[in-house]
């Protein structure tokens, strides 16, 4: 028999528990990516070459090397320098850093789209650079890039199985263990795939909601066009 429902119900609890780990890794990783991305984007726009060029170099370096290598690096190489991290933490840092560099490009597009007049008005009103970014630039730059950021959230989510390589007990790793224990891979792997499919669709719908909300409140306040 190709598909055993009894086996499905037997492994379901373990897979659901693992799915929580997957979701946790996704959300933590993405929060880190969203914050780091904004920091990278702003540093890269700095007028000082001492700040912008090293930042650009670092972003390019991280973007251009595989995330799996970065995960291994954080988990296996950092301890050589005295930084010993639990697998989950190491994985979240590596994913967050890697996707942070993608997000920084997205933010940069949003920031560069702000008309020069907004910056000039901020200078004319003597606003500090911090207030200018916080109150004037960022609230206008982010809503238009929410869909692009959302795509990276879904992409990061689908990359979490890489964490199985450093034995984080997320969905993929759990499915592998179940499969090898019972010599049956069809059900666990199919369920994992189905789970990712459902979650991705749910996340995409959520992003559309956030996008619509931000458009209403920030980008087009008052509702007039």
């Amino acid at each position: 028999m190709l598909w055993d429902w009894n086996y499905v119900w037997e492994i379901m609890p373990a897979l659901l528990r693992a799915s929580i780990v997957t979701v946790q890794a996704t959300l933590l990783g993405f929060v880190l990516a969203a914050v780091l991305g904004l920091i990278f984007a702003i540093l890269r726009m700095s007028r000082s070459n001492w700040i912008s060029i090293p930042t650009a170099g670092f972003v390019e370096f991280i973007r251009s090397t595989p995330v799996l290598i970065q995960i291994f690096f954080v988990f296996f190489v950092f301890p050589e320098f005295g930084i010993v991290l639990p697998a989950m933490v190491a994985g979240v840092i590596a994913l967050g850093l890697h996707y942070g560099t993608y997000c920084s490009e997205v933010y940069r597009a949003g920031l560069e789209n702000i008309p020069r007049g907004q910056w000039e008005a901020s200078i004319a009103l003597n606003l500090s650079p911090y207030i200018t970014f916080r109150d004037i630039i960022i609230p206008q730059a982010i809503p238009p890039v929410i869909p692009a950021l959302g795509n990276y959230l879904v992409a990061l989510f689908k990359e979490t199985p890489l964490l199985s390589a450093i034995a984080v007990l997320e969905l993929m790793q759990t499915a592998k263990i179940l499969g090898s224990e019972n010599f049956r891979y069809v059900e666990p792997m199919t369920l994992v795939g189905g789970f990712f499919l459902v979650m991705s669709i749910v996340a995409a719908a959520g992003i559309r909601q956030v996008e619509a909300y931000l458009n209403r409140t920030l980008r087009n306040p008052g509702g007039a066009r």
Binding site: Q118, A124, L125, S128, I131
Partner: protein, 258 residues
């Protein structure tokens, strides 16, 4: 002789090899209203942008209220100003732009409250009172909670004037503030500027194409040509009896067009 409110001392501005302003010398007295006219590319907008510190200058010094703005004193010598110095002196100057540059995600009130709260340190209540008073003054008391996208161009520009005034500048710069407006909206903005001139102690510098308004409102008109002041004087002299051939040509071209 009293200290001028604004003093351009041999100011030169270049973009690459192009000299936009060539050793400009210009003193503007406190409370004086100066209109700057001239063909496009003559450097007139650059004068305002330098005074607002939106452009750095290449040579010379700009003084505001007797104090160097583009430079600061260090060990008895004048060195180019750092950001901190600029932030301190810049507060004396306010600017209204051709394209309004209102913050689109903030209501008219919030536009006028942002800088007083974060730069002058006013409380929310104080800033709101000040903003409401100024919006009343520009005739938009009933539009306080509207967003820029809900206002006409003339209304947006009046909010922009109120926003600049909320910082209580000593010098106000108007950069072609009616050029982006539909003709029927020009009057309401000029009326507000007129009112400012009579009710407030403000030094005003305006780049304008509204010759009638310049003639009636300004104490002095400066005609710019090729990065220099080609001619300046009382509006009656400049408009009725220009001495320079270039001024005459410019005025007849402009007046013909309108």
């Amino acid at each position: 002789m009293t200290t001028p409110m604004v003093k351009f001392d041999n100011v030169t501005k270049r973009y690459g090899s192009l000299t936009v302003l060539d050793s400009l010398n210009l003193d503007i007295a406190s409370n004086e209203k100066v209109a700057i006219i001239g063909p496009s590319g003559s450097g007139k907008t650059t004068v305002l942008r330098m005074l607002m510190t939106l452009e750095r200058i290449n040579e010379g010094i700009i003084y505001v209220d007797g104090e160097p703005m583009t430079h600061m004193e260090r060990n008895g010598k004048l060195v180019p100003a750092n950001e901190r110095h600029l932030r301190r002196v810049r507060g004396n100057v306010g600017m209204v732009f051709q394209h309004f540059n209102l913050f689109p995600h903030m209501s008219a009130m919030k536009n006028c409250m942002e800088a007083p709260i974060h730069v002058l340190g006013l409380s929310k209540q104080e800033a709101a009172d000040r903003a409401a008073e100024l919006l009343d003054m520009v005739g938009l008391g009933d539009k306080k909670d509207q967003y820029p996208s809900q206002l006409s161009g003339g209304q947006q520009q009046r909010v922009a004037i109120a926003r600049a005034l909320a910082m209580r500048p000593k010098v106000m710069l108007f950069d072609e503030v009616t050029s982006a407006l539909d003709p029927e909206l020009v009057g309401e903005v000029l009326n507000v500027i007129r009112k400012l001139g009579t009710e407030h102690n403000l030094t005003m510098l305006m780049v304008t194409h509204q010759m009638g308004f310049a003639r009636e409102f300004a104490d002095r008109v400066c005609f710019f040509y090729g990065g220099k002041i080609a001619e300046s004087g009382k509006p009656s002299e400049i408009f009725s009896n220009p001495k320079e051939e270039r001024t005459r040509q410019f005025l007849s071209a402009v007046l013909e067009a309108s």
